[in-house]
């Protein structure tokens, strides 16, 4: 039997195409890319203020993370062999284009900074690489928010005002968390503070986003995405609390660091899944647009 005609959709079919990106590649990339950029920043400033251990760990983490990131990005392409085509043009209307160029500069800088830190050779070149990685790292950790927001996917597009702050906070939380996990407490105070600021920003941005979205926050709060976002929130809050106490014991520091890293990852996976869900159900596309038209028509009609 042909289903009844509906006034608000075509047989319940999606209006949009669901993102073709795979979570295991792209959501992972969001996490590793954020971790890398923020780690480079932490390394640079910690080095400037005389910390010896934290910068080396953060630089190696950044280089490793960005290596993994780029591998995942290439893997997710429909035609991976043509990945260099990303560098044919530079388009400011395409966050993916801007990001490709950012990564082309950041990758080598982060790699050089890590290699020179580990070998201890060429300290001035190492400092230059560290500074370059930090400067570009700011962009690497945040451009991805523009990338996913600059789509028709309702959950991502509608959150575009807060998304960069959510991603920046998540990145700082992860970078600080890694420092707490891998460096002994008396040399990871900078990481702890960075993580606290990051986790606080992450939680605040998320809360503001949900409040502003109102009914449109449903994809973030229901289903699989809802579970991921909630778990991420619990982990970020726990990690934040642990970071505050982390000076006291290596164990607390390590657990806090792990919680922060996991929380940051789950935030990215949660956002990704929310986007998927919002593209799949036509109501998330149709209803807000229909409401907008109705309101515009009401505004034009004089009230009698």
């Amino acid at each position: 039997m042909v289903p009844r005609a509906r006034p608000d959709s075509y047989y319940g079919r999606p209006v949009l195409k669901e993102p073709v990106w795979e979570a295991e590649n792209v959501a992972s990339y969001l996490f590793f890319g954020g971790l890398a950029g923020a780690s480079s920043l932490l390394a640079a400033f910690a080095q400037l203020t005389g910390n010896r251990e934290l910068p080396r760990v953060s630089k190696v983490a950044a280089a490793g993370a960005i290596g993994v990131s780029v591998a995942m990005l290439v893997r997710d392409l429909g035609r991976p062999a043509r990945f260099l085509n990303m560098l044919r043009v530079f388009k400011v209307t395409s966050p993916m284009s801007v990001g490709s160029w950012l990564l082309s500069g950041y990758g080598p800088a982060a790699g050089a900074a890590a290699a020179l830190a580990v070998t201890g050779r060429l300290p001035r070149a190492g400092a230059a690489a560290t500074a370059a990685a930090a400067a570009l790292g700011c962009g690497v950790s945040t451009y991805t928010a523009a990338l996913i927001s600059d789509t028709a996917v309702p959950a991502w597009h509608d959150g575009h005002r807060e998304m960069p702050f959510l991603f920046a906070g998540s990145a700082a939380s992860a970078a600080g968390g890694l420092g707490l996990l891998a460096v002994r407490p008396d040399h990871s105070r900078e990481a702890a503070r960075f993580a606290i600021l990051g986790a606080a920003a992450e939680l605040t941005a998320k809360s503001l986003m949900m409040r502003r979205l109102g009914a449109a926050s449903e994809p973030y709060q229901t289903g699989r995405a809802g579970k991921l976002m909630e778990a991420a929130e619990v982990l970020a809050a726990t990690g934040l609390a642990g970071a505050v106490l982390s000076g006291r014991s290596r164990l607390i520091a390590a657990l806090s660091g792990a919680a922060l890293l996991a929380g940051s990852a789950l935030t990215r996976f949660g956002v990704f899944e929310a986007g998927r869900a919002s593209a799949r159900d036509p109501k998330y596309t149709v209803r807000p647009q229909r409401e907008r038209l109705t309101q515009a028509a009401a505004a034009v009609r004089p009230d009698t």
Partner: protein, 293 residues
Amino acid sequence: MDPAERAGYDDHPPRLGFFTDTSVCIGCKACEVACKEWNAVPEDGLLLTGMSYDNTEQLSATTWRHVAFIEQIGPRGDGAPGPDGPAGGPPGAADGWPGAADGTRWLMASDVCKHCSESACLDVCPTGALMRSEFGTVVVQDDICNGCGNCISACPFGVIARAETDGGAHKCTLCYDRLGDGLTPACAKACPTESIQFGPVDELRERARSRVGELQESGVSKARLYLDNPDDGIGGGGAFFLLLDEPEVYGLPPDPVVTTRDLPRMWRHTAMAAAGLAVAAFAACLHGARERS
């Protein structure tokens, strides 16, 4: 501004596009077949969807024209009996549309890429594969596309898609290869009722406005144009439509807006967040030296 001019063409032919008048579509699907034949688009599986005569289901990498079928049964269009029947019934009853006495009508529409004036897929493409042709159409250069999938998430109509077979993004080209030789696109050529009309967009818009005026005068109050207005959320479509009901009935978004319009704000907020990240890192390390000394 004309899209071809905005893209940098100094001397270009008039903008070409489609006016699809769904009020005369007979659902024959000659357009689907002609498109596939001319463009050598592969078949996309033999499936029976149960969606009336629509077994194609949607536009995709392997379907560039898609005919939709909506059966609106009874005065309310959903099979439920109205309180009074057609004459004194609620909206949707007959609607002046020649058809069954009880108000039943079948809607048939050939969907296609809209070749937006402000095209999200084109804007977000990082390789430059998606480009604006001299005719004002939006075309994917298959030898450049690396299948990143960004265009797919950006399209507000869910048109462009990535093919599993070759990993690239594909969509209607408005028969770019035929336009160059002064030929009509395959679907418009094959359409037996001239539901799909091809020509300069300005001319098509004029024709469409007089056609919709005609329909409304004869009592078809729900007839309306969709994406003909250059002031709408995509700057108007090179391919636009005459619909007999709300766009969402056909699976189309009621008020699509190209995502690029919000991009300036996105970049501003990204820059602020990036700066904030740096400031946070600086603040976190400020006490460092003092703590250790």
